[in-house]
Amino acid sequence: EGRYAVIFKSAGNPFGEKLMDGFEKAVKEFGGEAILKAPAEPTAEAQIQMIEQLIAQHVDAIAISANDYDALEPALKKAMRRGIKVVSLDSAVNPDSRDVHINQANPELIGRVEVQAIYEMIGEEGQIAVLSATSQASNQNLWIEWMKKELKKPKYSNVELVKVAYGDDLRDKSVSETEALLKTYPELKGIIAPTTVGIAAAGKVLTDKGLKGEVYLTGLGLPSEMAEYIKNGVCPWMYLWNPIDLGYLGAYAAHALVTGDINGEVGDTFNAGFLGEKEVIQAGEGTEIMLGAPFKFDVVNIDKWKEVY
């Protein structure tokens, strides 16, 4: 019973595909109908159209990974006025335009853990840089905030964040940005790339330039994309969460909202299939549900995961 829709940022992205798989899996478990959508290009405009189409279909809930933090607000509000439950996951929308957000991993955790990782890799001192996605990606910007906070700690006194570069999640741009980093900062010892395209591009550059062991790379990447560079040691380890579980949790949260088990208030708890009990917690203005800590991929487990996504 019930029709549940998920909208991802854009089509043709393995992460998204897996996320939607997880979503579908959950919906099947509690016996609803799953609708999977993803625009051809990652724009808010396209997602608004899709939301309207879903409203017209009278779906019960929409789970969305937003291309823009604010721009979807009117559309989603309209949906909620029509009694449709709205869940954002992976990439959030502002609290006003959602019932609850599914947080793949605590942004604070992500930010801090990545800094700690690079700190360990470069031997506790030296210059590091960040290679981010598009300059307006809300996730990345939030994580970078936390990295900077972490870096304030005294133990990082002799680690220097020299630049935040933007590869716009384009291969060619990410490559030239990385190369520019290496030339501009010959002393550079580490790169944090909290974006799947960026980290893979960086990995490629470091591999080609044979900088393994001189410049270290970590961040958030797809196992399949990064397997190569984790095994050749350019990127000793990196993090990501499991998109399947993320989608899965999203679906269950939506279901809980629809059935009225929860209404997105802090403290609400509900059963999320094999993920067990989940609780709604405060997050800034709004509320969210935490999937868990970011998952660490390294030489040991990468072969298993690269096949998955």
Partner: protein, 335 residues
């Protein structure tokens, strides 16, 4: 021949030369400032990177120049590139043993087919290039999504041989650069030393006379789009090999960069004009901007505006140069 010299000042080569000189000086000036800001700019490594990253652009630009010379335009190359890249990568994934050379030919073949389709529309059904390529852009892109089923082909799924296409090198020259050089030698020979090459210019310069002097116009048009397609296909393989990853949204909107570098290189949208040397300087400028702006810490938010402004500047200047030359030609007519 003496007068010949005296009038030489106004012959076609020189008009071009004036433009290119302007462009080159422009490039040098930019380079100079970049060097001041960041000494590593003129390092051998960076030069190498610059050329390597511009190689693919330059290959595409060569094809686009032919298209534009025939008064056409091709918006579909980005999609063609993605399609051939994806299909080739998937093939490599299934048959890791596939010889790189074969992979390249496969990519070119796929591109060629795309080109043939467009060539057919433009030459035979007299659909305007901009429409035909606009439509096929959507189609090719869509097909890429479908065949890939939304998943990417990642580094670990590609044979080393395939990845080496982009990273390997011949007598110390990176393969990408090497391929580009080969292409340009052939290209230069084609446009300047073969009949067909010149006929491309003739068709663009004056289609009606072309018919009267018995040139098979629609054949030439077809050919031009086939070449463009094949080069886009080749670029697809190089691209995928370079970044060791095939995505369905590869090179979205890249066609604009290519067209821009042609226009800046003095290839006239009105058809009939365009020289390899000019094209190269145009491509160089584009590549330089991509390479230099990050180097001198230009805020990423300024890069578009700077590019746009420079393109506009370049075309306006070239227009003014052309005017002054025409004016001189008139003055020569003592009335």
């Amino acid at each position: 021949m003496l007068e010949g010299k005296s009038k030489g000042l106004f012959n076609s080569e020189n008009i071009q030369k004036i433009r290119e000189l302007g462009l080159i000086t422009f490039i040098i000036i930019i380079g100079f400032f970049v060097q001041l800001r960041n000494p590593s700019f003129l390092s051998l490594e960076n030069i190498n990177d610059l050329i390597k990253n511009t190689a693919i652009l330059s290959i595409l630009a060569a094809g686009m120049m032919l298209v534009i010379i025939t008064r056409g335009i091709d918006l579909s190359i980005g999609a063609t590139l993605a399609l051939s890249g994806m299909l080739t990568a998937m093939t490599v994934k299934i048959y890791p043993g596939l010889h790189p050379i074969l992979a390249i030919f496969l990519g070119m073949l796929i591109g060629l087919i795309c080109g043939v389709i467009i060539g057919f529309f433009v030459a035979r059904t007299s659909i305007l290039p901009i429409i035909a390529t606009l439509g096929m852009m959507n189609v090719f892109r869509g097909i890429t999504f479908l065949v890939s089923g939304g998943s990417w082909v990642s580094a670990y799924q590609m044979s080393d041989g395939f990845k080496n296409i982009a990273t390997g090198s011949v007598f110390g020259i990176n393969n990408l650069i090497f391929v580009a050089i080969i292409i340009y030698i052939l290209f230069y020979y084609f446009v300047n030393y073969t009949r067909t090459g010149r006929q491309v210019y003739a068709v663009g310069s004056n289609p009606n006379s072309a018919r009267i002097s018995g040139i098979n116009v629609s054949k030439i048009l077809c050919l031009v789009y086939m070449i463009m397609g094949a080069l886009a296909g080749l670029s697809g393989v190089l691209w995928v090999s370079k970044f060791a990853s095939a995505q369905s949204n590869t090179a979205m909107g890249y066609e604009m960069t290519v067209i821009a570098s042609c226009v800046v290189g003095g290839v006239s949208i009105a058809g009939g004009r365009g020289k390899v040397s000019g094209l190269l300087s145009g491509v160089l400028l584009m590549g330089l901007l991509d390479n230099a702006l990050p180097l001198i810490n230009v805020s990423p938010f300024w890069q578009d505006a700077i590019q746009g402004a420079i393109i506009l500047l370049a075309v306006v200047v070239s227009a003014l140069v052309k005017r002054s030359v025409d004016r001189k030609n008139l003055m020569r007519r003592v009335i």
